[in-house]
Amino acid sequence: MSAQLEIFTLNFSQHELLIALREWLALEFNLHSLESLFSFSLNNAYDPARHQYNATRIWEQVLKARPDSHHKLLVLTEYDLFIPVLTFVFGEAQLGGRAGIVSICRLLESFYGLPPNPDILFQRLRKEVVHELGHLYGLRHCYMPFCVMGPSTNVERVDAKEWKFCPECLETFARARNDLALRLGFPSVK
C-alpha cells in the first residue's frame, strides 16, 4: 500500500506519539503515512511580539517543496501557532488543498498548569489531525454534536468532540478520498 500522507515534524520530540498516531491512522482510516525530514526556515514565521509561529507560513513551505506530490502534507509541531487575526490556532489546513499543520502546544495538559497526561494528549492529537485532514479533503466545520469536524475554538471543545466523523461528514470524507484515489489511478480506498 503506497502512502497517502506525508508527515513533517518541526520541533517535535514526541516520537512515540508520532508512531502511535501513524499506526492509528492506518488502522482506523486505512490512511498510510510516511515521515519526511525537512529543513524549515522560521525567519518569516516567527512573530517575536506574540512569541508564536504563523501557521500558514509554515505549511506553505512544505507545499512549495512538494509541488507535484500526490500526498496530503501535514506538519506536526510543538510550537504555539497563530493566524494573523486569531490569538492562537490548534492547527490550520487548506480547505480542499494539500497542506496543513497541527500543534500540540495547547493540547498538552502542562499548557494549562496540569500534570502531563500522555493518554489525553493522544486523544486530542488524533482529533486535531483527523479534523485538519477533513479540511484537506474539503470538509467544512460541522455542527452535529460530537463530530470531529466541529470547530476547535478551545481545548474543552476539543475534548468534548469525538475523533469520529458524523455520518454525513464520513460520507463526504470517504467520497473525497475515493475521488482522489481514482484520479491518481490507485485502488479505491475502503
Partner: protein, 447 residues
C-alpha cells in the same frame, strides 16, 4: 445552528486579516466576501445582501465609523461588528454608539469570535422572524382587508371611516364579487362595536321560513324539527353589527317584520311571546337597484328609507384596474402560504392579461383565477397559460398604457439604484411615501 446560507462581508485593508478571516469563516461554513475599502464594500452591499459585516475601524479614505453610517442607508438591518487594533473604552463606546452590534480587538480569541458572530447572526435572524411574525399576526387580526389604492377605493375608505364613527344604518351597493362583505367588516372593525360580534345573514340564500327563524330565532317546538330553543342572529348580534347581505331578496312579509325590528330593536322568537331587546347596528348590501325595486313594488318603500341612511358604492373591478396587481399579488401570497407552494410572483405577461380582462365576476373571480393558477402553475411564477381566462374579454385603454409605462419606468429606476428607496425616489423626483405607494400599487417586488 448551522451557518448554511449565511453570508459575511469582511472589510479590512490588511490582506493578512482578510485572508485569515476568509479562511476561518469559510471553514465554518459561511459564505464570505471581502473588500479592501469602504467604496468596494458599498458597491458589494448594493449588489447583494449580507447577513453580517465586519469592518476595520481604520480604513483608507472613509473609515469604519463613517462606512457604518453609509451601510445604514443601504441596509439598515445589517449587523456590524467593528474591528479595532487596540481595545480602548473610547473606541468601543464610539463604535457601539454609532449602532455597531459589537466590537472585537485584533487578534481575536477564536472562541469569542465564533460566539460573537453566531450571536450577531442569530439576532438578525430573530429580528427578521419577529418582523415576519408581526406581519402574519397583523394579517390575521386585521379587520380592514380592503385592498386597493385607486381613487375609487380611497373614496370608499374615507366613507368607511366617516360612517364607522356613527351608528347609522348603511347600504353597500355593488356588483357581485366586489367585496361588499369586506366593506361591512371594515365599518364594524373601525366602529365602537368592534369588540362585539359582526353577524352575517345571507338573505338571498335562505327560504322565507328559514330566514325568519335565522333572524329571530325560535322556541322549542315552534315548528317540526325545532327540538331546541335557538337564538336568532338579531339576538346574537347584541352589542355588535348585523350584516344583511342581498337585502333585496327578502320577502315582503319578512320585510315588514324586519322594519319593525329596526325601528324598535325588539322582537320575539318564532313560536314565543317573550319580547327580546337587542342593540345592534345594521349594515345591508345589495347588487340590485333598490330604488328600481321600490318602483317595481318588490321592496317596501318605508324599509328602503329606513335602511338607506348612508350608502356606499363599491365600484366593479374593471373601474379600478390599477388595483388588480395589488389584489392579484395579495391572493398569490395568501394561496402560496395556504398551499405551501413556492410561487412568488406573477409574470409580466400574465399580469398584463389580468389587468386587461373585464372581470364580470369582479374580485371574487380574480381570487378564483389566482387560486386556480396556483393549483395548475409551477414555481416560481404564474404564467399566462396558468390563467383560466383569455384576452377575448379584455379591454385596453390609454390610461392602462400610461400606467404600464410608469410601472416599467419605476421598476427600471429601482433596479438601477439597487432598490434603495431614497435614491430611487430622488431620481424619480417624488417623495419616498409616493414611491412606496406606487410600488404597492403596481405590485413591484424586489428581485
Amino acid at each position: 445552528m448551522a451557518p448554511n446560507d449565511v453570508s459575511i462581508l469582511v472589510v479590512d485593508d490588511e490582506r493578512a486579516v482578510r485572508d485569515s478571516l476568509y479562511g476561518w469563516f469559510t471553514e465554518d461554513g459561511y459564505e464570505v466576501d471581502t473588500a479592501v475599502d469602504a467604496q468596494e464594500a458599498l458597491t458589494k452591499l448594493r449588489q447583494r445582501s449580507f447577513d453580517l459585516a465586519l469592518l476595520d475601524i481604520k480604513l483608507p479614505g472613509m473609515d469604519g465609523m463613517e462606512l457604518q453610517q453609509r451601510i445604514r442607508e443601504v441596509d439598515p438591518e445589517l449587523p456590524v461588528i467593528m474591528i479595532t487594533a487596540y481595545a480602548s473604552i473610547e473606541t468601543a463606546v464610539k463604535a457601539l454608539k454609532s449602532g455597531a452590534f459589537d466590537y472585537v480587538t485584533k487578534p481575536f480569541d477564536p472562541d469569542n469570535l465564533s460566539r460573537l458572530v453566531r450571536n450577531a447572526i442569530r439576532q438578525k435572524q430573530l429580528a427578521r422572524e419577529n418582523v415576519r411574525l408581526r406581519e402574519k399576526i397583523s394579517d390575521l387580526t386585521a379587520g380592514d382587508q380592503l385592498i386597493g389604492e385607486s381613487e375609487a377605493m380611497q373614496k370608499v375608505r374615507e366613507l368607511i371611516k366617516t360612517v364607522a364613527a356613527t351608528d347609522s344604518t348603511v347600504v353597500i351597493h355593488g356588483e357581485s364579487g366586489t367585496g361588499k362583505e369586506l366593506v361591512a367588516r371594515a365599518i364594524h372593525h373601525h366602529s365602537d362595536r368592534r369588540f362585539f360580534p359582526i353577524v352575517d345573514v345571507n338573505c338571498g340564500a335562505l327560504a322565507e321560513s328559514i330566514l325568519e327563524s335565522e333572524l329571530f330565532g325560535h322556541e322549542k317546538g315552534a315548528f317540526t324539527g325545532a327540538h331546541q330553543t335557538r337564538k336568532g342572529k338579531l339576538e346574537i348580534a347584541d352589542g355588535g353589527t348585523l350584516f344583511l347581505d342581498e337585502i333585496a331578496s327578502i320577502s315582503m312579509k319578512t320585510q315588514v317584520e324586519l322594519l319593525r325590528v329596526l325601528e324598535t330593536k325588539q322582537f320575539t322568537r318564532v313560536g314565543g311571546n317573550k319580547i327580546i331587546t337587542s342593540d345592534f347596528r345594521v349594515i345591508c348590501a345589495t347588487n340590485k337597484n333598490l330604488e328600481a325595486a321600490v318602483a317595481e313594488g318588490t321592496f317596501r318603500e318605508d324599509l328602503y328609507y329606513r335602511i338607506n341612511v348612508f350608502s356606499i358604492y363599491l365600484p366593479p373591478l374593471r373601474e379600478r384596474r390599477s388595483d388588480i396587481p395589488l389584489l392579484a399579488n395579495h391572493f398569490l401570497k395568501t394561496y402560496a402560504l395556504a398551499m405551501n407552494k413556492p410561487i412568488r410572483e406573477i409574470s409580466p405577461e400574465a399580469l398584463d392579461i389580468l389587468v386587461r380582462y373585464e372581470w364580470p365576476g369582479n374580485v371574487r373571480e380574480l381570487e378564483n383565477a389566482i387560486e386556480r393558477a396556483m393549483v395548475v402553475g409551477t414555481p416560481p411564477a404564474i404564467r399566462p397559460e396558468d390563467l383560466p381566462m383569455s384576452l377575448e374579454r379584455s379591454v385596453s385603454s390609454d390610461h392602462d398604457a400610461l400606467a404600464e409605462v410608469e410601472k416599467r419606468h419605476i421598476a427600471h429606476v429601482l433596479d438601477k439604484y439597487g432598490w434603495n428607496i431614497s435614491h430611487a425616489a430622488h431620481a424619480l423626483k417624488i417623495d419616498r411615501v409616493t414611491l412606496y405607494n406606487k410600488i404597492k400599487r403596481y405590485g413591484l417586488q424586489r428581485p
